[in-house]
C-alpha cells in the first residue's frame, strides 16, 4: 500500500510547511501603516523610501480596486486598512461616497494637489495623472486629418471608417473617457459620438499594448491609448511606427484620469496615514512615477523623459468626481450605442 503512505507523508509535509509559513508572517510586528493598494507597480520601492525618509513603516496589500474597496467594507470597523490607494478617480469617488474615506485637513496636500484632482470635501487626493489620447501611424495618417478642437468627437467622422481601434468596455479607461464626454457635452451628444465610433466599425482590443501593436503594424490607423503605455513601449522599442497627438488642444483639452489615495475612516493611525499622503504628494512624487512614465500631479515635479518628450498639453478641466458619478451611465451609454 504505497498510496496511503504517500498521502500521509504529503499531508505531513504540507502541514509542516504551512505551520512554518504561518509563523513566518505571524511573528512579524505589524507595521505602523497598513495600505490597501490597487497600485502595485514599484510600490515596494516607494514605501521603502517613505520609511527611510520618515521612519514610519508600511505593510501593503496589492489587489484590484473594487475588490479591495469591498474588502474594507466587509471588514467594517475592524479593518486594518489605514490608506486606500487606487488607479482611478471613479473608485476614489465611490469609496468616499460609500463612507469609507475620512476627510483630511492638510495645507500641504491642498498646496501640492491642484483642486481639480482632489475631492471637494478632501476625502481623497489624486497623486499621479495619465492622459488618454490619440496615437496614429504616420505612414497612413496625415495629422491634419485629426480634429484638433474635439479630437474624440472627430473620430466619429466617416473619414475614420474602418481605420479606428479602441479599448473594450471592461477596463476602466473607455468608461471614464465616455463619462467625461457626458460631463462635457451632455448625454445626447456623447451618445451621438459613441454611435459615430460604432458606425466607423471601431475595432475593439482588450489591451493598450495590443492597440499600440495594431497601429505600429498598420492594421489600425488611429487608436486611443494611455500616454504611459506608449512611453513604456517606446523605451523598449524606440523604432515603433507610432506618433502621439494630444487630443482636443484647440478645444476642451485632453482627457485625463488620476491615480490617488485616501485615509480610511476606521484607521487607528490617521496621523501617520496623513503623513504618508503628504509625502506621496510632495517628496515621494519622483518615486511614485519612477520607471512608469505617469505625470506627477504636483506641478513642481517634472515627468520622466519620454513622457515629457510628448510635450506640454492642456488637460480637460473637468471635475474628477464626474468619472465616478457618471461611470454607470457611461457603461449604459456604451451598451446603448452597441459599442463592443
Amino acid at each position: 500500500m504505497r498510496k496511503p503512505a504517500l498521502l500521509v507523508s504529503g499531508l505531513a509535509m504540507a502541514t509542516l510547511v504551512t505551520a512554518s509559513g504561518c509563523s513566518a508572517f505571524g511573528s512579524d510586528e505589524p507595521a505602523d501603516l497598513q495600505v490597501y493598494s490597487a497600485r502595485h507597480y514599484g510600490a515596494e520601492e516607494v514605501f521603502a523610501q517613505f520609511t527611510e525618509d520618515t521612519g514610519i513603516t508600511v505593510d501593503f496589500l496589492a489587489g484590484d480596486d473594487a475588490e479591495l474597496l469591498q474588502r474594507i467594507r466587509a471588514e467594517g470597523e475592524e479593518s486594518p486598512a489605514d490608506v486606500y490607494m487606487t488607479v482611478d478617480a471613479g473608485n476614489l469617488w465611490a469609496a468616499a461616497d460609500q463612507g469609507v474615506l475620512a476627510a483630511v485637513d492638510s495645507p500641504v496636500l491642498d498646496e501640492a494637489v491642484p483642486k481639480q484632482y482632489r475631492d471637494s470635501q478632501d476625502r481623497w487626493f489624486g497623486l499621479v495623472m495619465r492622459a488618454r489620447t490619440v496615437i496614429y501611424n504616420p505612414d497612413n495618417v496625415d495629422p491634419s486629418e485629426l480634429d484638433t478642437e474635439d479630437t474624440y468627437a472627430g473620430l466619429a467622422d466617416p473619414t475614420w471608417d474602418g481605420r479606428l481601434c479602441m479599448r473594450g468596455t471592461t477596463g476602466v479607461y473607455t468608461a471614464s473617457l465616455v463619462a467625461s464626454l457626458i460631463d462635457l457635452h451632455g448625454r445626447e451628444k456623447a451618445l451621438e459620438i459613441v454611435e459615430g465610433w460604432v458606425a466607423n466599425d471601431v475595432r475593439i482590443e482588450s489591451n493598450d499594448v495590443l492597440l499600440i501593436d495594431a497601429v505600429d503594424a498598420g492594421t489600425c490607423d488611429v487608436a486611443l491609448v494611455n500616454h504611459y503605455y506608449l512611453a513604456r513601449e517606446l523605451e523598449e522599442r524606440p523604432d515603433l511606427d507610432v506618433e502621439l497627438m494630444w487630443a482636443s488642444q484647440d478645444g476642451a483639452g485632453t482627457h485625463v484620469n488620476v491615480s490617488g489615495a485616501g485615509v480610511v475612516e476606521s484607521s487607528d493611525n490617521p496621523e501617520d496615514a496623513q503623513a504618508l499622503m503628504e509625502w506621496l504628494a510632495t517628496d515621494g512624487q519622483d518615486d511614485l512615477v519612477a520607471g512608469n512614465q505617469e505625470f506627477p500631479v504636483n506641478a513642481d515635479v517634472p515627468a520622466e523623459d519620454i513622457a515629457s518628450g510628448f510635450g506640454d498639453f492642456d488637460p480637460m478641466p473637468i471635475d474628477a468626481e464626474a468619472y465616478g458619478s457618471l461611470n454607470a451611465e457611461a457603461i449604459d451609454l456604451l451598451a446603448e450605442a452597441g459599442y463592443q
Binding site: 504529503g10 471588514e75 475595432r203 482588450s206 513604456r232 523598449e236 457603461i331
Partner: protein
C-alpha cells in the same frame, strides 16, 4: 430550488430478490452520521454563495444592463460552441491515445493534459498578441502576400476555438479514465461478438463513458460560465462580463450579485443537463477487469497522422503560448535588468505549492467521503445537498471571494454577539485558512464531479455484497469504494491541484498582508503589461502544473502494469 432541479438519484438498486429488498429498505433510510456529514459540507460550501444571494437582495431595484439579452445569447452560443469543440477534441483524443499505439503516444498521452496548466488571462493575451492581425504571424503572411491580409481573431468564433483548445483536457481526462477503467471487458465482448472497432466504440464504449464525459463537459461549461479573462480578450460579452461591468461601473457589489445569480441559474441548467445526459439507465461494470483494452498498433501513414493530430492540438493550445512566453523570458534575461524571480518569488512558490497540495487533498477527501455517504443511502435530499457543493465552481471567483468575506463578517458578528471577543478572527487579518476555505468552496465542484462519475461505474451490487457480508461503512470506504474509484480520485487530485495553482481572484481578495503566490505575481506584472517580466514566472506556473499531471500518468502506467500478469 435544488430539490426539483435534479432527476432521481443515479444509483438505483437494480437487483431484485428478498435479500436485496431488505438491504434496499435499510439503505433508503441512510445512515444518519454519514448523511449529516454531507449536509454539513453542503452548508459550509453553500454559505458564501448564499451570502452573495442575500447581499443581492439588499441591492437597489434590479438594474440589469440593457444588453443583458444579448449577453445571455452570447453565453449560450459560447457554451454550445465550446461544448461541441471540447467534446470532439476530448473524446476523440482520449480514444486515439487509449486504443492505439503510434509514435510518441506514451509521451503525448500526458502532454495532452497540459493546456489546462495555462491561466486563461495569459492565454488570451498570448494568443491575440501572436496570432491576431497585428501579431508576428499575420505580419509575416502580409510580408509575403501583401498588405491586404488581416483578419481579426477577437470574435466569438475565435473565442470558441481558443477556449475549446484549452478546456478540452477536462473531457479528455474524464473520458480517458472511463475508457481505461471501465471499458475493457465490455469492449472485448462487443469485439468478440463481431462488432468492428468503430462500431464497438460508438455503440458500446461511448455510452459506457457517458457519465464521465458528461461530468467533464459540465466542468467545461462552468469554466466557460465563470471565465472573465479570455472572453474579455476576445471581446465576447457573456453574463460574467456583465457582472464585472455592473460591479466596476456602478461600484455597487449588490447589483452585480444580482447578475451573478443569473450565472448560477445557468449552472443549475448545466447540472440538470448533465444528469439528463447521463441518462436514466446506469452503466456499471460487471465482472473483473478482463484483459484490458489492448491498444491496436497503427502503422505507416496512419500512425504518423495520429501523431500529427495530437501534435497539432498540442501545438495550438500549448506549444505556441509556451514558445512565446519563452521568447519573452529570453529577451528579458538577455537584457541587463533584474529577473522577476528575485525577492519574494521563493516564498510565493512555496505558498503556491502548499496551498495547491492542501486544497486538492481536502477537496478530494471530502468528495470521496460524500460519494461514499450517498452510496450508503439517504435519498433525494442528501443527493441534492451533495450536488449543492458543486455550485461554487459555477460562480466567478471574485464573487465567491466577496461571499467568503461576507460569511466571515457574519460569523464574527454572531460570535461577538454571544460573547466571543474578536469572533473567528478570520476576517480582520485575512488568513491562509480563509483562502483554503474559499478554495474548498470553489473547487469541490471538479473534485466531486470526477469522483462521483467514478462511483457511477461501481456496481451497486458490490456495495450491497460488502454490507451484507458485514463490512462496516468505514471498512467499506477504505477497502472497497476507495480502491474502486481510484482513477476518479487521481483525476480529481490533478484537476484541483492545477486549478489551485493557477487560481487568482480568491487569493488576491482574501490574502493576508505579505502572502503571495506565483499566480498573483504573474498577474500583477501582466496587469501592467510587463509581459517580458511576467513570462518567466508564468512558465513556472506551467511547470508546476505539469507535476501532478506527470504523477497521475506515472501512477496510471504503474496501475496498468500491476493489473496484468
Amino acid at each position: 430550488m435544488t430539490q426539483t432541479a435534479f432527476p432521481p438519484p443515479p444509483t438505483r438498486l437494480s437487483a431484485r430478490g428478498p435479500a436485496q429488498a431488505r438491504i434496499r429498505r435499510a439503505s433508503s433510510r441512510g445512515r444518519p452520521g454519514w448523511s449529516a456529514f454531507v449536509v454539513l459540507v453542503a452548508v459550509l460550501v453553500a454559505a458564501p454563495v448564499l451570502g452573495v444571494l442575500i447581499d443581492a437582495g439588499t441591492g437597489q431595484a434590479p438594474d440589469l444592463p440593457r444588453n443583458v439579452g444579448d449577453m445571455v445569447l452570447t453565453t449560450l452560443l459560447l457554451m454550445g460552441g465550446v461544448g461541441l469543440g471540447t467534446l470532439v477534441l476530448g473524446v476523440g483524443l482520449a480514444w486515439l491515445v487509449t486504443a492505439h499505439t503510434f509514435p510518441l503516444r506514451n509521451v503525448l498521452v500526458w502532454l495532452l493534459v497540459l493546456p489546462l496548466a495555462m491561466p486563461a488571462y495569459i492565454l488570451g493575451f498570448v494568443f491575440l498578441s501572436t496570432l491576431d492581425a497585428a501579431g508576428p504571424v499575420q505580419s509575416a503572411v502580409r510580408g509575403v502576400v501583401g498588405d491586404g491580409f488581416a483578419f481579426s481573431l477577437a470574435t466569438l468564433p475565435g473565442c470558441v476555438v481558443v477556449m475549446s483548445l484549452t478546456l478540452y483536457p477536462y473531457v479528455y481526462l474524464m473520458a480517458r479514465a472511463a475508457f481505461v477503467e471501465q471499458a475493457p471487458t465490455t469492449y472485448d465482448a462487443a469485439r468478440t461478438l463481431g462488432a468492428g472497432r468503430a462500431r464497438a466504440f460508438f455503440r458500446v464504449l461511448l455510452p459506457l463513458a457517458r457519465p464521465s464525459v458528461a461530468a467533464g463537459l459540465a466542468l467545461v461549461m462552468m469554466e466557460v460560465l465563470t471565465d472573465f479573462a479570455t472572453v474579455q480578450y476576445f471581446n465576447v460579452q457573456t453574463v460574467s462580463v456583465g457582472v464585472y461591468l455592473v460591479w466596476k461601473g456602478s461600484f455597487d457589489f449588490a447589483s452585480a450579485a444580482q447578475l451573478a445569480s443569473l450565472v448560477m441559474l445557468f449552472a443549475v441548467a448545466v447540472l440538470a443537463g448533465e444528469r439528463l445526459m447521463r441518462g436514466r439507465s446506469r452503466f456499471t461494470q460487471k465482472g473483473g477487469r478482463g484483459s484490458g483494452l489492448r491498444p491496436a498498433p497503427l502503422t505507416g501513414a496512419r500512425a504518423w497522422l495520429a501523431t500529427g493530430v495530437c501534435l497539432l492540438a498540442l501545438g495550438a493550445s500549448f506549444f505556441v503560448p509556451v514558445l512565446r512566453l519563452g521568447a519573452w523570458a529570453v529577451e528579458r534575461a538577455a537584457s541587463d535588468r533584474p529577473s522577476a524571480l528575485g525577492g519574494q518569488f521563493g516564498e510565493a512558490f512555496v505558498n503556491s505549492v502548499v496551498v495547491a497540495v492542501i486544497a486538492s487533498l481536502t477537496c478530494v477527501t471530502l468528495a470521496l467521503v460524500m460519494g461514499h455517504a450517498l452510496r450508503l443511502g439517504g435519498g433525494r435530499s442528501i443527493r441534492a445537498a451533495a450536488q449543492l457543493t458543486t455550485f461554487g465552481y459555477a460562480v466567478p471567483g471574485a464573487v465567491i471571494g466577496i461571499g467568503t468575506l461576507l460569511t466571515f463578517a457574519w460569523a464574527d458578528r454572531t460570535l461577538e454577539a454571544v460573547g466571543v471577543p474578536g469572533g473567528t478572527g478570520l476576517l480582520v487579518t485575512g488568513s491562509v485558512l480563509g483562502i483554503l476555505y474559499a478554495y474548498a468552496v470553489r473547487f469541490l465542484g471538479p473534485a466531486y464531479q470526477a469522483v462521483d462519475a467514478a462511483y457511477a461505474s461501481v456496481p451497486t451490487t458490490i456495495t450491497q455484497s460488502a454490507l451484507s457480508l458485514g463490512a462496516g461503512p468505514v471498512r467499506l470506504l477504505g477497502r472497497v469504494h476507495a480502491p474502486l474509484v481510484r482513477s476518479g480520485v487521481a483525476v480529481a487530485l490533478v484537476l484541483v491541484a492545477i486549478d489551485a495553482i493557477k487560481e487568482l481572484p480568491l487569493v488576491l481578495l482574501l490574502r493576508p498582508f505579505g502572502f503571495t503566490t506565483v499566480s498573483v505575481s504573474v498577474y500583477q506584472l501582466a496587469k501592467e503589461n510587463l509581459w517580458d517580466q511576467a513570462a518567466l514566472p508564468a512558465l513556472v506556473i506551467v511547470a508546476l502544473a505539469m507535476v501532478p499531471v506527470f504523477l497521475l500518468f506515472r501512477q496510471v502506467r504503474h496501475g496498468d502494469r500491476g493489473s496484468r500478469p
